[in-house]
Point group: C2
Chain length 403, copies 2
Amino acid sequence: MTLKGNALVGQSGGPTSVINSSLYGVIAEARNHSCIENVYGAIHGIEGVLKREIIDLTRQDEGTIQGLTRTPGAALGGCRYRVQDEDLERIFQVFQEYNIKYFFYIGGNDSMDTAHRISEYAKEIGDGVLRVIGIPKTIDNDLPVTHHCPGFGSCAKYVATSVREAGLHTASMYTSEPITILQTVGRNTGWLPGASALARMDEEDAPHIICFPEVPFELNQFLGKVEDTYRRVGGAFIVVGEGLRKADGSYVSAQADEVGTDAFGHPMLGGASDYLREAIEKNLKIKARNVKLDICQQAAMHFASARDVKDAIAVGRSAVKAAVDGKSGYMVTLLEEEGATSFSELEKVANLEREVPREWIDPSGSYVTTEFLNYARPLIQGEVEVKIRAGLPAYVKLRKIMV
Amino acid sequence: MTLKGNALVGQSGGPTSVINSSLYGVIAEARNHSCIENVYGAIHGIEGVLKREIIDLTRQDEGTIQGLTRTPGAALGGCRYRVQDEDLERIFQVFQEYNIKYFFYIGGNDSMDTAHRISEYAKEIGDGVLRVIGIPKTIDNDLPVTHHCPGFGSCAKYVATSVREAGLHTASMYTSEPITILQTVGRNTGWLPGASALARMDEEDAPHIICFPEVPFELNQFLGKVEDTYRRVGGAFIVVGEGLRKADGSYVSAQADEVGTDAFGHPMLGGASDYLREAIEKNLKIKARNVKLDICQQAAMHFASARDVKDAIAVGRSAVKAAVDGKSGYMVTLLEEEGATSFSELEKVANLEREVPREWIDPSGSYVTTEFLNYARPLIQGEVEVKIRAGLPAYVKLRKIMV
């Protein structure tokens, strides 16, 4: 049962504020298991494996390793590379060369597909070659099976904070600049725009209208809601998910076509809030501004969720424990309780998306229900103490000690 | 010399994270002077005076008053109303009705023009009618005479933090999404894009290229710099001021014309980063994304500068002391030392803009010098402890107790 060798960990897809906390979890847990001789890190995920860009994580300063739980971005580098069939042989050559017996891949839907294919290939080659465990991360919160995704809580906390702050700002300028549209990330699901509802303190507060990618967008209905809100409170604060679509499935974002698609064929979504702003100004003749926090949402470590950091460390640790115990071909999942984990077969999560349940969106289609709020609220609890140097958060970088 | 009566305070222009700290300074200092009987607040600045929407600030809960120093937006409401000649008589009628002897106006360049006109009108009518003191605020940091403006430090701290975080994020995705353009506010001056340079820890860190409104934009030169950076570090992080202009003075923002102008004839600037993103993608065929933090910059109380809050309280307090001492027609200015204030005649600051000195921008035109960094760094020091409730900052609202 015991498999002696090295562990390799990679980060994949877009980073989250806590993707490095999962990396920390892997490194810290590996120390408890003597069968894992060294922990190596692949630079830019599977791209680094293919290019033999592999660094030694056991020879970093302890302060740097600890600092990973307080540093945004992907310390090893992320990637959006789609593994080709012909890559697999190469990958296993490199694994053999570096005596890799444990492979941990931290990522979202697409990355779990990569992990799954590597795991399947390992099974074909034979037992004892490699154990593969996927570690979830995605601010989109759209992975199936897991109760929630590491990264979502911090992003939701930052989005809700930004909406509360920008909402107060907007309300104080209703007589001259009455409308703000804030665009969240989250691709085809509305977990993040929905979480902005946590910002509301009183009935008249932001957000007033939430546009979910799950609810087909109807321009006239939307404009009617904006006008109603404007008449009722004197302005309107709208939150829109980047992946907002019309009934025919096309993205409202005028830019979607121009911007093109990424390596996995997903559209690069840019302009949902631009579209809504123009629609309001042209049709209602009311001034509107739009906010595109974009990657600042995935990187806002300075106001991350402590709960999220704990969960992210837990999935990293659980992955190592499971692999050492003989598990392979699984992704760690999170349960409702803080830091509690379970597992799902990789094939059950790879390439799949979990939408916000329709019953968690209210009948109007433009706000969440109490169930949604009760689900999201625990995930944004607790503040992370980042180190401050000269007035700014001090973050760490891994040294590129090549193996 | 002693003038007995009520004080009226208004907030004008766009809010900053610390505009309510100045309001707090006025209210707290007024308590020390028995000649000020009540402190009233005008809702939406001078608009509230014209509409007799005036609330009692002496009858608010003490917790709310204290909480003003930790609350973004303009608690009284801001405005962008340009006072007309025919308004002045009406304004003074209202002042007389409410026995207003002290008028404090918290605002930027345009608001100082309003204060100046009211002050001049008071002089015409006669001595002892009204004392007027302007209290500076603007994240743009473009008021002349004052060493810096309350609001700038907090905005700079948030921008630099966002650039450090989004910079780490971008660097970890250089192999797939190599370029980020982050747009700051700040109208025609480059104080905020310049302050983003505080984010850089190492030579290869973000920001790599800063586009200052003070430096005429040349597309080919810009593209050359982007290509150089891309070749040197594998990607590029660009910070652009919203008011970026070409040599002929026109805004690069394609939207500038469509979006129109505000009440003071200033263009509503939206799209400098959209323009740069398109220029890069079309000409260099490299994927780029853009971030528009927009009003989140002016409202990011959750990571405001403690130094800025202290300065903002100080200008509020100094305004009251000066008015009680008989001064009128002045704006409070800040000196280099924390909380130290002086004064400038309102006419010397109204409607004027202070640009970043050319010698504080390096010869390339796309980065700051050490002098700039030494100027800006002290202004972002110290963190403000906001109250947290259920994982989010808890902010206060004034009760609308009409006089």
